[in-house]
Amino acid sequence: MTAPSTPQSPLIHLVDDDAAVRDSLALLIGTIGLRVQTWEAPQRFLAEFDRAAVGAIVLDVRMPGIGGLAVLDRLIAEGVDQPVVMLTGHGTVEMCRRAFKAGAAEFLEKPVDDEQLLEALQNAVRQHVRSRERSQADQAARRRYAQLSEREREVLGLIVAGLTNKEIARALALSPRTVETHRANVFAKLGCESLAQLIRGYAALAEEQEGAP
């Protein structure tokens, strides 16, 4: 049992209308150190669950009122980024196809084997942690990029395009010394120590911003 890297262990939301299924699955999921919050009513889950938490969602397909597939549609439409694992008692190929098309991460048949479910959940959580980290890194990069002056952005664009200081100076009609100053500022403001780091972290952002006004 590996300790989760996030300060709080990931939270699994389990939505199933059957109390016995809910309790037993929650117990099983709990054995690998994941926190579980159980929901009996899909509507209540949709209204109240913590969208900011890191984790995954387990949905039963067959539920009274609003079915699992409809809940999945709502989650995707809302832009919820937690991976969704669907559980069904009578999975047809068509249902499976629909679920994956709608954006389910995994589709499992009841009764589900512990290895299968736990592996699916660990994968889902890992995927979610990674995507959250990626989006956090992306946000930090954007914040730093916003601190650059207009001229520094131009210089950055030309650096990632592969131009030397002299070529940049010529392109922007500046003296090579000025370009060197801008370049040092860019490296400092973006917190980069090497060209490779700069390109890895900001090439995509610089190209994306070049297209924008």
Partner: protein, 320 residues
Amino acid sequence: MALVHQSQRFELQGGRNAEAPGGWHFRFRKPLASASQPFEVDAERRVGWGELPWGRMLAWSAGMAVLLAGARLLRRQRTERRRAEELLRLGQVARLNTLGELAAGMAHELNQPLTAVLASTQAARRLLDEEPPETGAARDAMAQAALQARRAADVLGRLRGTLERPDAARREPVDLRQAARRALHLLEPEGERRHTAMRLEAPEQPVRALADPVALEQIVHNLLMNALQALEDVPPPRREVLLRVRAQDGQALLSVSDTGPGIPAELRSRVFQPFFSTRSGGLGLGLSLSETLAAGMGGALTEGDAPGQGACFVLSLPLA
């Protein structure tokens, strides 16, 4: 007929013009386009009632009437047969639908407790594997598993209660020969389509069995359809289905045998199991349904010995 020139009239041929008062009058006038003979031809004929070919007309009408009536009778017979077939099929479909729904509902009802049992026991094992083992939580998980196993058993118990037939209230004396004839009649077009000869062997006197006529009809229909389908790979001249009705040892027996390939010995024990079929695409419910129906009427459906190598099924019912 006459030739007319400037109100002068030259009779060429006289006729029965004047003597027929009623009837129809036909007249034809035409100027002869000739400069030397500017005559006008005037042909006149009167046809009286008496001249019509009454005898032949009557014979033709009568013939047509007979023909139309015959066609109508034939068509009505065909629709009646089709309707009967339809009813039989519907009855079967309704039963199968009920079975299908039952199966789907049962699958869900059983799946939930089974999911809980599996998850609980697997959680318990994991809890016991821990260092130190969490025996308390594991014990609770096992209790939960036992509870859910009991819930699954209750589902099955309820199902059995639903499926049990109330009693044999709908049974009445039925002549098996008539039931057999009726089934053969219904499937006659099917037999013709499959180039299969279907024969009935029955005694002179009625064989009265105590049965539910609808269920009986379905059983015979199923057996005949199975026999017809078993003959698909047999060359047409050797395709034969024999239906035998007889009373024997206080029982009314109806057997259906075919000249098909028969049922392999290793599969014999399974033909009455639901969802087992030797036919690709077969639902595998015909024989199991028939057996259930036969048992419901206090009878039985068993495999008999075919005269040749084909399959033979025997329906036995209590004599009325």
